[in-house]
Amino acid sequence: MAPGALLLEAHREYEKCSQKADEYLREIKEQSMLGEAVRQCVEAAGHEYDSNTQKSLLRAASFGKCFLTDFSAESFVSTCRELRVLNAVRDAAVALPLTHTQFKQMTLQVLIDRLVYRQFYPLAIEICRYLKIPDYQGVSRVLKHWASCKVQQKDLSDESISRAVCMKVGDSAGVSYSDIAAKAFECGRTELAIKLLDYEARSGEQVPLLLKMKRSQLALSKAVESGDTDLVYTVVSYLKNEMNRGDFFMTLRNQPVALSLYRQFCKLQEQETLKDLYNQDDDHQELANYYVTASYREKRLESRLSLLQTAVDEFNKAKNEFAAKATEEEMKLLRFQRKLDDEKGAGLLGLSLQATMEALLALGLQKQAEQLYRDFRVPDKRYWWLKLKSLAEKEEWEELEKFSKSKKSPIGYLAFVEVCMKSNNKYEAKKYVTKVTPEQRVKAHLAVSDLEGAADAAIERRSESEMGAVLSRCSDSDRLLIDRLNRAKASAAKK
């Protein structure tokens, strides 16, 4: 007798409370066949159709297991589970008389597929849950099939279908509402598809289908909602091809985010359209900026000027007086530059006002520089700096002196000292030291390396910090000076 059969017998005797149970068991154990016996019972149960026989075989196996110390219960447990599933599908209502071997061969996945195919959804879901299959392969997949089938039921209203789907599917991971909606759309139920898409959490998934269904407005707002700018671009470029220009612009107007993205696109790709967009919004400031930018791309001066003139008009419409005036100035400057370029070949076009004046002074065109200074109301300070530097550069020291005396310098005279020193002309620099205000006199003396003078000025002003500054420039050979400064410093500190 096979050990399994003996074990079955032993268990029967045990249930009858007969001591034979022990006898049989001992016999199996003596041959060290208990493990094999349990295995045989489990396997046999698997092949049985009758559930009562299955049960008694499994109970025998379970009984035998108790006397083993290191027996893995895995195959026992899985056989129990699988039998439960097999018994369920062998039921007359389902009528799949599968053997255990067949089942193993075809795998659980296929079994579920067959159930789904035959629309035994509840059973399929129960099986998935019972066998703890991960949602993605299990419950969610079945639900997806169920929903796809549900949306094809012609006798039900859109409302009731979408409600039913939502109730069952809820927010199960792995069920994509957009897939279900796509199915609905395929079956010609667009309204239902839109309703279903509303449940889709991932806006990215909603958009392509909405476009396919020609719900472009909705697609646009969903794309905007998602925050994914690439998606917005995609819808926008789709709309652009689908709609006439007027409608397209109107649609964008209602979606500021999409509109600004489209503007970005136009800035890079379609300058002309950009203009139309600003025009539509009456955005004169941006229009003006657009013309200014455009003017810099123009090679010919006439076209440049005419673009700038348009910019001026737009700036005026935008009530940006400053920019309008500045742009007019720019035009004035361009005209001036060309005139001089024509007359004297000065090569001024494109220079800034400051650079133009600089160039004119360098070319000795004093009068023209003065004219710009007046016409453009250049602040005195800046013009003085410019002239001072220009004269020093050309080493026109007499002119410089005359200039310094023309009126009181708005930039003071320390500037004269420093600029002369930059040109390494100490002789000229010294001329201006006395004109420097008392506050800056120490600095001026130091600039021309006149330590004595600096010390005198500092002591006169009783300024400790200035004395310190002079001291820091003294070297060891200036012993006397150092002593004098230290004394003065000490006495200044006392007071």
């Binding site: 925050g227 010919r300 500045a326």
Partner: protein, 600 residues
């Protein structure tokens, strides 16, 4: 190689490893020898993820820069384009592919979009008739790149401009995606705070994305306790100010790019014994700057005035260590000494480098020009004479100092005065246009749009209130042994960091008034954690906050946050993330408009 990323509170090396793994997987998808054609902008950030050796291991034999025309010859099976999703780049790729097909027909083309593929770009390739030539079109999700153990950046240069001038929120979408990736690796961040429009938008997208993933719960124990999102336009002042930390000054003066700085070579000439330095190197000295270098980690965040002392202290320690050799008597002691030699030598060369850099910087910081500029900045920040035309600025314009310097100062005055008086405003603008050229009218218009430069409107100047409430100016900032973040600007405490500090303690409720004065909404959101993931905090264990600066962050601000992390009683550690590491100059530059070359 990237060990310094894992020293901090949060192991950012996990992020880097994840990025490397994905790169390898993509490379292996294209079997056979490869050449990569680079969108030049990407090479810097990529260098932080993978060196050439990794690419080489995966059969990358050649690398080119993407440019129009024909591809350089290369005997490889695959040509892979690594590009940002930009239309103008698509046109170049199309050109490349067209000119290529006629010569070789057996080469396979691939595109790797960084950080995300784009339907718009693919559509463009289709229009150009080359989409079919590509075997693989893939995306490489590289949003947040680890720059240091506590620092992440997207290096998205145009983020500020796009968000505040062009209303284009692409960068914010990438930010939200990047934060989702970060949460996938480091757990859901339970608390989100924010201030500003962009912050609100990012938080909304994050919450939305989380809903989209409903069902799949993140089972990782949260590493971050809090996320703070800050708009750059909440604090426009800080980046305008000259940074006074060591690292900040290196960036201000020489510019740090993707962790590297290029320095004038003269100071770094190797002086070998007995050899006169005949030929000075002419190529810029390139140094990598990060916390992997012990000395740099120690001094980078110090006020520059404290760096000299730190360097000389270090010098003493190092020479003392070298002196040890005389005490080594036994063979064992000598052996131990020798084993430490490489480390000591590295320390010595690092010391030499930083001494040279500090000398270079000192030449500049002790100059009169630097001093005058700083004085004016500090006057503005303390509210002195912000409502009249400033003589120093006037003089600088007259001297034709660099335009960006002028813009930084003028904008600073405007911000510190909550707008300039119309007369002052127009005067500055006119001076700039007349001196630097009328084309800058577009730049000025941009600065106005960004709120950096504006005329005063009816409302009164609220900057003094903000300054007082948040203690933005500290009279006696201690540069050597700081006790407050204001040391990073020698007196000015960055507004953004004050907001961060107050949030940690005592909370934003204490500054409601000021928050209302700053632009954009402030908000708080909570993200539910799955049961069982609530952290049980050990006693004395610090909390961790991720501070995300939308629109850029400066090194001085980073230094201030590191200072807060190190404060013993702060109870908070900060990890910093941003769209771009900026300084006043790079930041202003990104907002400037340069019309195409002027007519000759």
């Amino acid at each position: 190689m990237a060990a310094h990323l894992s020293y901090g509170r949060v192991n950012l090396n996990i992020l880097r490893e994840a990025a490397r793994k994905e790169l390898r997987e993509f490379l292996d998808k294209c079997a056979g020898s490869k050449a990569i054609v680079w969108d030049e902008y990407l090479t810097g950030p990529f260098g932080l993820i993978a060196q050439y050796s990794l690419l080489k291991e995966h059969e990358v034999e050649k690398m080119f820069t993407l440019k129009s025309g024909r591809l350089p010859p290369a005997d490889v099976k695959n040509i892979i384009f690594f590009v940002r999703p930009r239309l103008e780049l698509m046109d170049i790729i199309a050109e490349n592919v067209f000119s290529e097909d006629k010569i070789h027909s057996s080469r396979d083309f691939h595109i790797l979009f960084v950080p995300r593929r784009s339907m718009l770009c693919e559509q463009r390739l289709k229009e150009q008739g080359v989409l079919g030539s590509f075997i693989n079109i893939d995306e490489y999700i590289l949003d947040l790149i680890p720059y240091d153990g506590d620092l992440l950046s997207m290096e998205y240069e145009s983020a500020f401009r796009e968000c505040y001038l062009e209303n284009d929120q692409t960068s914010l979408y990438h930010t939200a995606k990047g934060l989702m990736t970060l949460q996938a690796l480091y757990g859901t961040i339970p608390q989100i705070y924010g201030k500003g429009e962009c912050a609100r938008h990012v938080a909304n997208m994050m919450l939305r994305m989380k809903r989209e993933f409903a069902g799949s719960q993140n089972q990782i124990l949260p590493v971050f306790d809090t996320l703070l999102l800050l708009d750059r336009n909440v604090d426009l002042l800080t980046p305008l100010a000259t940074q006074l930390t060591y690292e900040g000054l290196i960036d201000e003066i020489y510019g740090i790019n993707n962790g590297y700085v290029k320095l004038p070579p003269e100071k770094f000439a190797q002086k070998k014994q007995g050899e006169a330095s005949k030929d000075l190197p002419t190529e810029a000295k390139k140094l990598q700057l990060n916390s992997a270098e012990e000395l740099y980690a120690e001094i980078r965040d110090k006020n520059f005035n404290a760096v000299g002392a730190a360097l000389s202290k270090k010098a003493k320690i190092i020479s003392a260590a070298f002196e040890e050799r005389h005490n080594a008597k036994t063979v064992g002691e000598i052996k131990q000494f020798v084993s430490q030699l490489p480390h000591m030598q590295a320390a010595r060369s690092s010391l030499a480098n930083h001494t040279s850099i500090a000398e270079l910087i000192k030449d500049i910081t002790t100059s009169e020009a630097f001093f005058d500029n700083l004085t004016v900045e500090q006057e503005f920040m303390t509210g002195v004479d912000t409502d009249k035309v400033n003589t120093y600025i006037e003089d600088c314009i007259a001297q034709k100092d660099p335009l960006i310097k002028i813009l930084r100062l003028v904008c600073m005055q405007s911000v510190c005065n909550n707008g300039l008086k119309q007369k002052v405003f127009d005067y500055y603008k006119r001076e700039i246009l007349q001196t630097y050229g009328y084309e800058h009218i577009l730049t000025l218009s941009n600065l106005e749009k960004a709120g950096l430069l504006k005329p005063q409107t009816g409302s009164r100047n609220n900057y003094p209130t903000i300054r007082k409430t948040l203690k933005l100016w500290m009279e006696d900032a201690n540069e050597q042994n700081p006790n407050d973040i204001s040391y990073v600007y020698s007196g000015y405490a960055p507004l953004s960091i004050r907001l961060t500090q107050v949030l940690a303690r005592p909370g934003w409720r204490s500054i409601e008034e000021v928050l209302k004065m700053l632009p954009g909404p402030h908000f708080e959101e909570r993200q539910q954690l799955p049961a069982g993931l609530h952290k049980k905090r050990q006693q004395g264990e610090n909390r961790t906050t991720l501070v995300f600066f939308l629109g850029g962050v400066t090194y001085a601000e980073i230094a201030a946050l590191r200072f807060l992390s190190q404060m013993e009683d702060s109870g908070m550690e900060y990890i910093i993330a941003t769209t771009k590491l900026v300084n006043g100059t790079t930041w202003i530059k990104s907002i400037m408009d340069r019309p195409e070359a002027q007519a000759p």
